[in-house]
Amino acid sequence: MTATLPVYSKKDFQTDQEVRWCPGCGDYAILSAVQSVFPELGIPREKFVVVSGIGCSSRFPYYMNTFGFHTIHGRAPAVATGLKVARPDLEVWIATGDGDALSIGGNHTIHMLRRNVGLKVLLFNNRIYGLTKGQYSPTSEMGKRAKSTPYGSVDRPFNVLSLALGAEATFVARSVDVFQPHLKATLKHAAAHRGTAFVEILQNCNIFNDRAWEHLTEKEVRDDQTIGLEHGQPLVFGKNRDKGIRMNGLDLEVVPLGNGISEKDLIVHDAGHPNPAYAFLLSRMDGRPGFPTPLGVLRAVDAPVYEDGMSEQLRQIIAKKGPGQLDQLLHAGDTWEVR
């Protein structure tokens, strides 16, 4: 397949458009990671389409030298669904934000996941509306003081991964703008998935919500505050890899390793677990005292892919009935002739 494929480099995926994000914005890192990963996927460049909604993050397509469609606020999943169903041969990626995908676009997001359309979704979660200059978003923490909530918000936030899992997601992962190797590896996993690959990327908006993820990403704390999930590996974390996670009744618990507790007692990560309740359980570690925030692929399972089902139905019916004949169709049912 790649026999005649040009050898791409990162450069091939860069456009001549000035990148119009604020200096220091986490979006740059994500752009760079995607531009690094695309050349490695063995796919002709013209097959890539990046679809986005509206937001800082949704400017993404302009900087990717692929086909790109900067649509309207919240609707990228629906536009991309139409495109993918019509053109299953294309590699359709979505770039979206926490406002775009989860506020105005929440419904399309959950329906895309439910249908398992073959789309890769990069959700840039900066916990703020960047483009409109700093209102709180559905992922902002309660009490957030922002432009529209000078006295603090009273909204409980979504847990992005829980929501996706509740909507029947088949692939759910999380990475961070500044963790480049992890991010690239995660993107590659997503690229390989059939069905909707949903990736939450924790992203810093240094203008309107600076340091939103610092408590996870700072060098000193990151190993204690996050856990990198790897399929088939036990859930170990900590700067000294001295903590682990195991089941305790209906819930998880964090245990120190040693003192009779070894990796054997821990949960071995199974991204392919048929029951999404497992991944859901992992997603609930976020923000729980003592628990790390999970990074990596929480869930990756096979399930019927929407556009496959659509195409297959067409194929079967054409196989059975033969390709439609317009003349016959027009004459279907009772007809009579007037001379």
């Binding site: 900067h70 649509t71 019509a86 053109r87 169709l329 027009l330 009579w336």
Partner: protein
């Protein structure tokens, strides 16, 4: 009732007749009417139908809101409307009688199922004294028939329960009508065999009921006369009976074949548009993809995605759904992608009268988007015309790279008429070629004649480019906020839509090419206006009629044609929307004739207006 020789009775030849079946929603009136229509069509009559049923939800049996009706006008000459007055009314219960009797002509035939006129039935219909007894029906030829009882008797050998037997009584009534108009029952036999493929006993039951109804008329002396309505002299060709929604569906399939593009429909169900989705979902052998979206916004945006990918893309809806699609239509305008949006208008505002017809979305279609966002707008005038409008809309969309709005309405959607089936050769061909040449490719370069930009679909090597809803630089398509570029692009988009006028044929008025009065119509008022025009011209009026298929851009000679008449009247099922456009554009003192009742115009209503205006001139 022994089988005897039928008594010899009169047989009268008529030019035309109007039957209305009415009863409870559960009485199968829509089926009965359709069967009669079909038989009349196969016989060669010209015809027009008007199904009229309650809002989607089922009302309690026997009540006024539960009444469902189906009217068919069939004729040996050209007809244009389902008829203003009814010659034969079949009323299955008191509620139906109450709601419909006013439309029966004096001395008209009234068939009533007396089994349903018990105390309790009258009460459900909020009637105190039975109309069968209070002489209120004296002016009609009343045939009081124990329809339920007679049907049960006819079916008793089949071993069905009472409920199943009673479900057949509409076929008893149908049989009576077949007798009355001397029709064969063959087509209905065939339909029943098809419909009850797995349940032959039900097919048989309905057949028996129908035969019993026929025999009842034959055997008893109920009717003194039966009628004959000879076939109409339609132009030669092969015909089928066609409703507006089916015609749209077929038109889109035809267009996709002629454009050599796969058809994609993104839709969310809504009355009265859902049937287009239902129909198209059956045509998978034509490569038609139907996507039932989560809402109207996803419906239209998925279609935009498919259009971007190179499909002939389509979305169908009615008023409230149309309102939801407006933001996305703006995106299609800005990205200059081809797209067809069908609005099957219904009564409003808001949820309004979901099953009733109206023409009040015209201004929404023309102006209902933020900023300067013009689109071509087409309207179909008869059920069969929906086919041709569908084809034309697609042709314009792909030729000009533009979203096109098609307006139909509840009356066209569900109404039917005989439709001459075109041969495939008679269809316009417009095979689409995508841009493939990278050399010199500019996403917003334009064809000088159509002002269309190239359609450059993803997957084409060397054409990688970005589009979106932000303002673009002329030619390059890059995001651009410069003042003069913006003005240029706003005017270019408008000019492109205006340029379509080159494909719009000049108007040729029906009737007098000049004179006292011009009727300007659009959409489903076509039949009533045409019929009124004929009748009034026969009385000597010097009047003409133009019916607009293209509502934007308007035909080039629109203004000139209006000047040829002393008065211009615009009949519309709204408070005056097209008339507003004509006045604004041509400064012509056009006046409206407006009816907003969820029902189509009657011929006489238009005639009355004509007479009024002509009276003023004299």
């Amino acid at each position: 009732m022994a089988t005897t020789e039928a008594p010899v009775r009169k047989r009268e030849i008529l030019e035309q007749a109007v039957i209305r079946f009415c009863g409870d929603s559960g009485d199968g009136m829509q089926i009965t009417g359709s069967q009669f229509t079909n038989t009349a069509a196969l016989f060669g009559n010209d015809l027009a139908t008007f199904p009229d049923f309650p809002a989607e939800i089922r009302a309690p049996a026997g009540t006024l809101p539960g009444v469902s009706g189906f009217q068919v006008n069939f004729s040996s000459s050209d007809i244009y409307t389902p008829g203003d007055v009814v010659d034969v009314l079949i009323a299955m219960n008191p509620a139906a009688l109450k709601m419909n009797i006013a439309d029966l002509r004096p001395n008209g035939i009234l068939i009533v199922n007396t089994d349903n006129f018990k105390e309790v039935d009258l009460k459900k219909a909020q009637i105190k004294v039975s109309p069968l007894e209070d002489h209120s029906l004296d002016g009609y030829r009343l045939f009081a028939v124990e329809l339920t009882k007679l049907t049960r008797m006819a079916l008793q050998e089949l071993g069905l329960d009472a409920k199943s037997m009673d479900r057949c009584k509409n076929f008893f009534a149908l049989g009576m009508c077949y007798w009355l108009y001397n029709r064969t029952m063959d087509a209905t036999y065939k339909w029943l065999d098809d419909k009850f493929k797995g349940k032959p006993v039900l097919a048989e039951a309905n057949k028996r009921a129908m035969r019993a109804g026929y025999a009842y008329c034959d055997a008893t002396e109920a009717f003194q006369t039966s009628y004959e309505i000879p076939p109409a002299k339609l132009s030669p060709g092969v015909y089928r009976n066609m409703s507006g929604n089916t015609a749209l569906a077929l038109g889109f399939v035809a267009a996709s074949q002629q454009a050599k593009l796969p058809l994609f429909l993104g839709s969310y169900p809504i009355t009265p548009a859902s049937d287009i989705l239902h129909e198209l979902s059956m045509f998978k052998e034509f490569g038609v993809v139907t996507f039932q979206a989560e809402d109207e916004i996803a419906a239209v945006t998925s279609a935009i995605g498919a259009a971007y990918g190179g499909s002939l893309a389509l979305t169908t809806t009615s008023g409230p759904g149309m309102a939801l699609k407006t933001e996305a239509i703006g995106l299609a305008i800005a990205t200059e992608l081809p797209l067809v949006i069908c609005d099957i208008q219904r009564g409003g505002p808001s949820t309004g009268l979901p099953t009733k017809t109206e023409q009040a979305d015209l201004l929404q279609a023309l102006f209902g988007r933020n900023s300067e966002a013009p689109v071509p707008v087409l309207a179909a005038s008869t059920p069969g015309d929906c086919f041709w409008v569908a084809v034309e809309a697609c042709r314009i969309a792909v030729k000009y790279m533009v979203p096109v709005i098609v307006l139909s309405d509840g009356y066209l959607a569900n109404g039917a008429e005989p439709w001459r089936i075109p041969t495939v050769d008679q269809l316009p061909k417009f095979p689409v070629t995508f841009r493939t040449e990278p050399e010199g490719f500019m996403p917003y370069a334009r064809d000088p004649q159509t002002l269309a930009r190239p359609w450059a679909v993803p997957g084409t090597a060397g054409l990688e480019h970005r589009i979106g809803g932000l303002e673009k630089q002329d030619v390059t398509g890059n995001v651009n906020y410069e003042p003069l570029n913006h003005e240029k692009m706003v005017r270019l988009r408008a000019a492109k839509v205006e340029a379509i006028v080159q494909d719009v044929p000049d108007l040729v008025p029906a009737g007098d090419p000049d004179g006292d009065l011009l009727l300007v119509g659009w959409g489903s008022t076509y039949g009533a206006i045409t019929a009124a025009l004929r009748a009034q011209r026969e009385k000597g009026a010097r009047i003409g009629h133009v019916h607009l298929r293209h509502l934007n851009p308007l035909p080039a000679n629109m203004g000139e044609v209006m000047k040829r008449y002393k008065r211009v009247v615009v009949p519309e099922m709204n408070l005056g929307q097209l008339v507003w456009v004509l006045r604004a554009k041509y400064l012509v003192e056009a006046q409206g004739l407006n009816k907003v009742q969820g029902k189509p115009f009657m011929q006489h209503e238009i005639e009355a207006k004509i007479e009024e205006v002509l009276g003023e001139i004299r």
